[in-house]
Amino acid sequence: MPKDSGIGTSPKRREDVRFLTGNGKYTDDINLTGQSHAVFARSDVAHGKINNIDISVAENMPGVLAIFTGEDFADVGGNPAGWLINSRDGEPMKEPKRPVLAHGKVRHVGDAYAAVVAETASQAQDAVDAIIADITEFPAVVDMETALAGGGFVHDEIGTNQCFDWGWIEDNRAATDAAIKSAPHVTTLSLVNNRVVPNAIETRASIADYDRGTGDYILYTTSQNPHLTRLLISAFVLGIPENKLRVVSPDVGGGFGSKIYHYGEEALVLAAAKKLCRPVKWTASRSESFLTDAHGRDHVTKIELACEKDGTFIAFRTDTMANVGAYLSNFSTVTPTFLHGTLMAGNYTVPNVYVNVKAVFTNTAPVDAYRGAGRPEATYSLERVIDKCARELSLDPIELRRKNFIKPDQFPYASAAGLEYDTGNYDALFDKLEEIVDFGGFNARRAASEKNGKLRGLGINSYIEACGIAPSNLVGILGARVGLYDAATVRVNATGNISVMVGAHSHGQGHATAFPQVVSDMLGVDENSIEIVHGDTSKIPFGMGSYGSRSLAVCGSAVVRATEKIINKARKIAAHMLEASEGDIDFKDGKFSVTGTDKSLAFGEVAFKAYVPHDYPHDELEPGLEETAFYDPANFTYPSGAYACEVEVDPDTGQVTVESFTAVDDFGNVINPMIVTGQVHGGIGQGIGQALLENCTYDESGQLLSASYMDYAMPRASDLPFYNVDHSCAMPCTHNPLGVKGCGEAGAIGSPPTIVNAVVDALHSGGHTHVTHIDMPVSPVRVWSAINN
């Protein structure tokens, strides 16, 4: 009988009622008594020396309470990179200080060099407008190749614009070079993984409150991981003891990576709140969001695929320049390296892989992890070059991939890029894709398009990614400066309902619905009696938050472990109550019973006993029913998928429309299929945005040309097709208790190459065979120009 609740069912997202009726509580919805407002003075040049900041007029303006400049934070720590990367020559990466406010130099348009706190935001803005900044403008370092060639430096003290020059795996380098040299066929492709602006609907915001009696701080902020934010502020930046700083991330309206990181504005409002003994609030405008949120992607890559004439892969070699912008954001060094290079073997049995990544400082906003974080870049490079190879060798793109897939009986499989894939069945995913998509009817659809003057293309793609970041021992060896476990506390209340405090943070993912499904299944209690608590360091155990599709795989596992502890303790209490030995107690469907008898107790009765411990074995058991577990994963999880799409291209205008999109994903076990489908939809929408529309562009002087929605094209409903999504080919993860893999980023990883492969296919069908590649976004002008060149 199909279940009607718990794991595998699709209750509607309970949080949506709140969100859709305007009852969400976001940071900007919070207003504290006596609150003042901060506004930042931001550089309008990309690169310049700060000679003087004259605040004499501004500080006397109405309502102004305090003005801060970089000078005020000269003695506090910098906001660090979370991961140390070593260059090929063994040298550690260059880590210039990232100050709270720019000091000495401004390094990108939007770099804050001063902040005004005033009674109202409008007064603060007036005062910001009255600050006179004497800044000598320097030529901007924008293009990565130019940046590496030398000349002006973003950070003079390091004397280079190269942060690191990383090789992976260095021991494979010679073999890979040799394999490529002697290979019967080599396909080469140069491509750009376009820079994107995350564009969460909710812009960043922070409110700091300081209690002058206790010396305690509260920071309400738009964060995907309040504990990490607290750790960074406490251990690195302001030095506020962790037990004096409470970080609260209430409802957060989307993050996509950009709200993982600690930003200077958070430190500023904290310092200002202490100085003024008043709450200080800041909410970013959309323009600030464009200029200062950590951007995503921005790789320039050359990839080579070496293979036999029959298409058997021999080697992949990539050279990548990765833009890190003006300062190292917290995950900016791991994203283009370990989250990218380790995936460069894809789903394939290729024996040789070598990846070189040079990270480059430029006078642009910091670049960091963005939905997919490194894996989309890896997948895009691989799957574009494989598609090009198939065309060069006149092989069917599906057959070429299948020929090289790791086969089900080869798992666990040690990839040539250094990961151990625990499980997968890539052929099964393509079998499913071929079952769902009417490939047979494609030629007829193509003919129909051509009748209307359009070209039609079919794009195929296969991906593997690594989620559930991450085994702390492994990442520690690789340079991580934090552990990447997660934590959960399950508190069964006296009346039987349950609060689950989780380290994961929900900013759209539906944790409030999905996590209770897990606990409900395990305890046999109604999922509606289980509430999730998240986003407040004073309420939840120390967890690492949500990114990298890790919430369920890592924090969900901690929830399972904590719930198991609850069951174990409750079983002991039940044994006492039922006067039986613990070994004879059976727990099923929310009931404790004595094996072979009709004596039983409901879970709620046992919980009540834990809190009203009359007649209780106090010598053996503590009262209460609350357990915490930390979970550190044994390995990454490896979702994979087979994608296909059809596009139509209007050769007269270059306009591309996505006619159909099918995603077959293996996410392992699925807790709530509806939520998973929604995550895939969102991911594909974001991927189509990157592939066709989103184009974050700086001009030579470092001005952001796409700094508003007038020039930055977001995908809209009319740009997207109806998706065909399947996740029935589940190969459960072998090393976490739920067998789950993670689904939050898959769509954004798998879709961009699918789209571009389809566009190239369409152009070839129209005889434009000189077009082997078009860089994203594959905008009308680019397609038309490619055709007409």
Partner: protein, 260 residues
């Protein structure tokens, strides 16, 4: 945004009086002006809303002339369905929120080089009626964001001769969804007029070569081998000069094919 005073007069005379004070500015639907004020790029001390003036509202079709009040919203122009080219244009501006606020007078006064209405006005040889005079479209548009309007002068109505056939083709700029290029083709007894928006450094313009060819032979073939000079075209993130020049021809052809 800075603070400002707000008045909403009920007739043109009161509006003019209110506008006489320095630093006062007319407000239509606010779809251009308000965002500019939010960015502190404009700072009028007084906004004079024209939306309360009933004589500036509505669409009237009598005989061969459509008269549209200067404060009529895009949504109301679309709903009036005066003739197909105009209806199509008005219903394709922005999104529902923009169409229910933005006005024809505001659009023509602003004369954004990527706006839609300027193409309709120029292609139909419309008359821009203000509080003090009547201006032919051919004299009204004077380059990007520049018009024949004087300091204190409000568009009270737009008079458009109904064409025999017309069509507006808009190729959307991917981000703003304004016209990357927009082409309005209008056929009259005495000839065809073609106006192009979004494309030129000089704002909306008439493509006279196409007009001449289409006036002789109103067909796609008549213009398929013509081209506009790419050197005058706008080049930006969303399109090169050559690309825009191509769109001018492609869209003109499509407008002819779709004209009704």
């Amino acid at each position: 945004m800075y603070n400002f005073e707000f008045v909403k007069p009920s007739n043109v005379a009161d509006a003019l009086a209110a506008l006489a004070s320095e630093e006062a500015q007319a407000l239509g639907g606010g779809q251009t002006l308000i965002p500019t004020m939010k960015q502190r790029l404009a700072s009028p001390e007084k906004l004079v809303s024209l939306l309360g003036i009933s004589e500036m509202q509505g669409v009237d079709v009598s005989g061969n002339i459509v008269t549209i009040g200067g404060a009529t919203t895009h949504a109301n122009v679309a709903a009036a369905d005066a003739f197909s080219g105009l209806t199509g244009l008005a219903s394709g501006i922005g999104d529902p929120a923009v169409r229910n606020r933005g006005t024809i007078g505001g659009s023509l006064a602003n004369n954004d080089p990527a706006a839609c209405y300027p193409a309709a006005a120029l292609a139909t040889g419309a008359t821009i009626v203000t509080n003090s005079r009547e201006i032919l479209a051919d004299d009204y548009f004077q380059g990007m964001f520049t018009t024949a309007l004087k300091e204190v002068e409000i568009i009270t109505a737009v008079r458009i001769p109904v064409p025999l056939a017309s069509n507006y083709q808009k190729f959307e700029q991917p981000a703003s969804r304004f016209a990357l290029v927009g082409v309005f083709v209008a056929k009259y007894v005495d000839g065809v007029r073609v106006a192009i928006t979004g494309a030129s450094e000089n704002g909306v313009f008439r493509w006279s070569e196409a007009e001449a060819a289409l006036s002789v032979n109103f067909s796609y073939d008549a213009i398929s081998s013509l081209s506009v000079d790419a050197s005058d075209m706008i080049s930006d993130l969303h399109g090169t000069k050559e690309y825009r020049a191509n769109l001018v021809r492609v869209l003109t052809g499509r407008a002819v094919l779709s004209a009704s």
